[in-house]
């Protein structure tokens, strides 16, 4: 990988999944994106396929795809619930997933079915251990 683990951005205010998505609580809803590690591994993101607002997913289901120059990868939803917003800007500027994965590169906002699912996600320390293990 190009970034050393010490160089990765790992905010404290989000939870993480084993598939390298992040989830952040915002006004009772959950905003979702991919981590700095994931974007670094994938390389240039050139296309983001997101679900329609209103669709309902269970935790762990595929909710979209990310197209990098080299490959296509699935996006898995960290928490079950209804899609209440998607990041429309990524249609024009998918590279924001690379440049600002935890900010402007966000993908969806989920209205959670069971907020307890959020609590079961990894915190920064646990996610860091997973990254170290995959080195």
């Amino acid at each position: 990988m190009s970034k050393a683990i010490g160089d990765l951005v790992l905010p404290d205010d989000v939870r993480y999944t084993l598939d390298h998505e992040w989830a952040r609580q915002e006004n009772g809803n959950i905003k979702v994106g991919i981590t700095d590690y994931a974007q670094d591994q994938l390389g240039d993101i050139v296309f983001v396929e997101l679900p329609e607002v209103g669709r309902i997913f269970s935790a762990g289901e595929e909710f979209g795809t990310l197209e990098s120059v080299k490959a296509v990868s699935e996006l898995y939803i960290p928490i079950g619930g209804e899609i209440v917003a998607i990041n429309e800007a990524l249609a024009e500027t998918p590279e924001q997933v690379n440049s600002d994965p935890f900010g402007n590169g966000w993908m969806i906002v989920v209205k959670p079915g069971d907020i307890a699912e959020f609590e079961s996600l990894k915190d920064k320390g646990a996610y860091l251990e997973i990254l170290k293990g995959s080195e």
Partner: protein
């Protein structure tokens, strides 16, 4: 059966630049540095620098060298240069393939004729021993020597419209080096003891073999140099290229560029199936009415007597979304019947449609403010012939994509442009 991954002389440079490294053909190679997309676009607009030292090469020499190559190689060395097809001569090179008796690919190759009885065959990474063994098995009582040059040379490609301007800065005598440097010709040699070595030298005296070939479809050169000079040569070119926008490029950009240029990847687009009915008929010695071949070679009869032929075609999609050939991906006809498989699917990030016409970011007539989003493209292999313009559907576990069969992909490629226009 874990084999140790080999490293090229430039491995340390790639890692120091933060390249994303991966195994390719037994070598740990850079996939990209900071952005495969920018590397791809850089080659189309300025120039890119590629470490291709993982490629293998064989020296075939002796009074019967040409006869052995004629026996093993698909192209006709006595009728392959330009139009009308003239014999291969020293300083010219030709693309073709080596097949088994069933007409199936062993590897593809560019053969460079060095002198009357001496040829350098450039082949793919990890294929040196395989092809050398094939040559020796086929040599019979021919008077020929085959030696593996793979670990005796490094290779650097400079590809893109600025390539000649950049090399002008590092060559000892660029004017003489570039004189009559036609597409698919070369000059010089990387071994200082060779009489050919004086033809092209870098400004520090290093002899190189400079070849007007490449794997991007764009104007440029391949440089063969002694392994102990690779890093210095790379750094000289990289420095000299900065004022021209030269970008170091990894294998991801190399793959997407060659896809858009309709060039096959050995053992992926051509492989263990008959080497015919594909977009590369120039690699076969067809006679004028395409009914047979102008010479005999290993596999020729098998190619002409196939019972259930398959057909390989280039395609281009409607946007940049891809299918994953690892899944694998299949080809469906408009009725939904499976008719074949997807061999390569990449995104050429430098092309897009504008009012129904395909442009490259390198096209001289591209529209103002043309910002290509990229299009998926590649190759499929199907059981029945298709016509250009036909639509088929590519399907993997994730999606279905409608694509069009085409004879060419990225327009306005620069590979064949006269060198005088590029200086």
């Amino acid at each position: 059966m874990e084999k140790e991954t080999k490293k090229t002389a430039l491995h340390g440079w790639h890692v120091a630049q933060g390249a994303n490294m991966a195994d390719f053909g037994g070598y740990e190679m850079p996939l990209w540095y900071s952005s495969a997309k920018n590397e791809h676009l850089g080659v189309l607009q300025q120039a890119g620098l590629f470490d291709t030292s993982h490629m293998a090469a064989l020296l075939v020499s002796g009074p019967d060298a040409r006869d052995l190559l004629q026996h093993c190689f698909t192209n006709n060395l006595d009728a392959c240069v330009g139009q009308p097809k003239k014999p291969l001569i020293p300083g010219r090179c030709v693309y073709g393939a080596y097949l088994n008796a069933q007409g199936e690919l062993i590897d593809d190759s560019i053969i460079n004729q060095l002198s009357e009885n001496s040829y350098m065959a450039v082949i793919n990474a990890g294929m040196g021993a395989v092809v050398a063994g094939h040559f020796r098995a086929q040599a019979g009582d021919r008077e020929v020597t085959i030696s593996d040059l793979t670990d005796k040379l490094g290779k650097i490609d400079v590809q893109g419209p600025m390539a000649a301007k950049i090399l002008s800065k590092v060559l000892a005598a660029p004017e003489s080096a570039f004189e009559k440097m036609f597409y698919f010709s070369f000059k010089g040699y990387f071994d200082p003891t060779s009489p050919l070595a004086d033809a092209v030298r870098l400004s520090d005296g290093t002899p190189i073999l400079l070849s007007r070939t490449g794997y991007t479809g764009e104007f440029g050169f391949e440089i063969f140099v002694s392994p102990d000079k690779v890093v210095k040569t790379w750094e000289m070119i990289y420095q000299a290229g900065q004022q021209f926008g030269l970008t170091a490029c990894g294998l991801a950009a190399r793959d997407s560029l060659r896809g858009g240029a309709v060039l096959p990847l050995s053992h992926q687009d051509i492989g263990h199936w008959p080497f015919i009915n594909h977009p590369w008929p120039f690699a076969l010695p067809f006679n004028d009415d395409q009914s047979g071949f102008t010479k005999s070679f290993i596999g020729d009869q098998a190619l002409l007597t196939i019972k259930s032929p398959e057909y390989t075609y280039a395609f281009v999609g409607g946007d940049l979304r891809k299918v994953s050939t690892a899944d694998p991906a299949v080809v469906l006809d408009p009725a939904g019947t499976e008719i074949g498989s997807v061999l390569t699917c990449v995104s050429d990030m430098g092309i897009d449609y504008h009012r129904g016409r395909l442009f490259s970011i390198g096209s001289p007539e591209k529209p103002q403010d043309f910002k290509p989003r990229g299009l998926c493209c590649g190759f499929i292999k199907v059981k029945a012939p298709l016509q250009p313009g036909a639509e088929v559907v590519l399907k993997d576990k994730r999606r279905k994509l409608k694509v069009t069969i085409v004879t060419d992909i990225r327009p306005d490629r620069t590979a064949r442009r006269p060198i005088r226009e590029m200086l």
